[in-house]
Point group: C2
């Protein structure tokens, strides 16, 4: 079998025209290099050196082989360097899951944070739709993600809450904003809910369902839209009201629905932001970096559940 070690010995021998010199240069004993060369000649089925009195002389086959051998070793070096560059965040891609609301809170800023520290890396935030995120997390394609979850429970997943964000009722009708909105009033309202997450996992939706469960009702959503911006715009047009995280309301209302306002729910409800990854996984440095930066971003806006909490790698 042809090996890199054989090629290394070959090149050294070729360069110095001597097995002894090559062995010295490589830090081996002379018979070791001799053996490697012989093995290489055997596997290739050709003679590479003529043993002549003092030293050895490369044959024309050796002349032919040399540039190829150099190419091989150069390729190996390139591979090694590429990996080291990725390892030290000089280059490479960092994939991280983050969807819907969480992205709204930390998306652009998070990428800016990473690029500021490691200009060479490419950041891939997965989570246009959250089916993807849940699936890729389960399949292992995605190492970790920052999600808004309602219940801390997922099969084989470790969920680490980092912040919570109050849900508020938004409306273009000032009359509906005078008092905190109860479950009763909520059940009567015309609501638009954005399906920012996979419906089964949708944090806001689950939170509302839980709230309404006590009154024995299900949330009536007359309108369903994909993204939260559209929902807010519809509220601005007075076509419906909605329930969204407070930070999103403060960020989106002035821009998309200036005539609308928000009011608390009663009892107050929260969405929980949490880091999710497979239980038992050892997190890579890249994932740890993303978790730390994303947590910081989110905690700057939402209410920290643990001071600067960082997910600890589980063994």
């Amino acid at each position: 079998m042809l090996s890199l070690h054989q090629l290394t010995c070959f090149l050294a021998t070729y360069e110095y025209g001597s097995l002894t010199r090559a062995a010295e240069e490589l830090g081996y004993a002379q018979p070791s290099v001799s053996e490697q060369i012989r093995a290489l000649e055997k596997t290739l089925g050709v003679q590479l050196f003529r043993r002549v009195g003092r030293g050895v002389v490369p044959t024309t086959v050796a002349d032919t082989l040399r540039p190829y051998a150099e190419q091989v070793l150069a390729s190996v070096d390139a591979a090694r360097q590429a990996v080291q560059a990725v390892k030290s965040f000089e280059t490479g891609t960092i994939r991280f899951g983050m969807f819907g609301i969480a992205r709204l809170y930390a998306g652009a800023g998070l990428i800016a944070d990473v690029l500021a520290r490691y200009p060479g890396v490419r950041v891939e935030l997965v989570g246009q739709n959250s089916t993807e995120v849940a699936d890729e997390l389960r399949r292992g394609r995605l190492e970790a993600a920052m999600l808004a979850v309602s219940t801390v429970s997922a099969e084989g997943m470790t969920v680490t809450p980092v912040a919570r964000e109050e849900l508020v009722y938004i409306s273009a009708d000032p009359a509906r904003l005078e008092l905190p909105v109860t479950a009763h009033r909520l059940a009567l309202a015309t609501l638009v809910l954005s399906e920012t997450t996979y419906s089964e996992v949708d944090a806001t939706r689950n939170t509302l369902r839980q709230m309404l469960h006590e009154t024995g009702r299900n949330p009536q959503t007359r309108i369903e839209v994909e993204d939260i911006e559209t929902a807010v715009e519809l509220v601005g047009l007075g076509l419906a009201d909605s329930v969204i995280p407070k930070g999103a309301a403060e960020q989106l209302l002035p821009r998309l629905a200036p005539n609308a306002g928000w009011v608390q729910l009663r009892p107050r409800q929260w969405d929980t932001f949490a880091v999710v990854h497979r239980s038992g996984a050892v997190l890579s440095p890249a994932a740890q970096l993303m978790i730390e930066l994303a947590t910081r971003r989110i905690q700057d806006i939402a209410e920290p559940l643990r001071p600067r909490a960082v997910a600890r790698p589980t063994t």
Copy 2:
């Protein structure tokens, strides 16, 4: 230490997303591949696969490494193929020593023979001056050569005579061609000798010296030139006479000195063509090929010393 085997296992595992499948494909047991991957991860200091429930999933580092690993293996394959191509005479260079007179006898035809059989090879006939040939033979840079030698003796060299060629006296003066030329007349003549070979080794020169030794004289050469063609031209101009191999005379006189002719020496003298290589050398297929073809060419013109003799490899 990074090895080709590790990269092979890595690529198979990456492709199939499974250590077991990779092992099957490579013909190994599953723990063996597992061990290779672990060793590779250790030498690179990175995690390449996440072990997730069913199968393994490549990390982004693995994504980065993959094209480099493929490049390495492709380079190895290219090297192997290049060597095999040379081995089977599809390509590569064949170096062979052949100087002066020998080249005149077999040069172009020999190259034609090789190219007819192996169109891809490049033939390098060394021997513009024979210092080079003797030196490169001694140093091992040159595996074998076809030379015109006078005495069958050389330090550590194996000399195999294949043909002999009579030396003739050429002159533009018909009077000098009426009778065979004796050593006595030779000593009185104005001679031009071409230094087609290194003077110490020059076959013709040595032959003449040996011939004149009996009369106690040294050859008087008034004119010395580098190549035999110039010598013949000078003879054609009537400026001097010369002694050259008969085949060369027949080939060159009509073209370069049409008014000149040749006559035998008395006693008759011969140059000997012989294959020379280092004693104890195992001759490569390429060298054996060249020896066979060159011998055939020379024996077609000169007088064979052994029927279609081919130098036998000495152990």
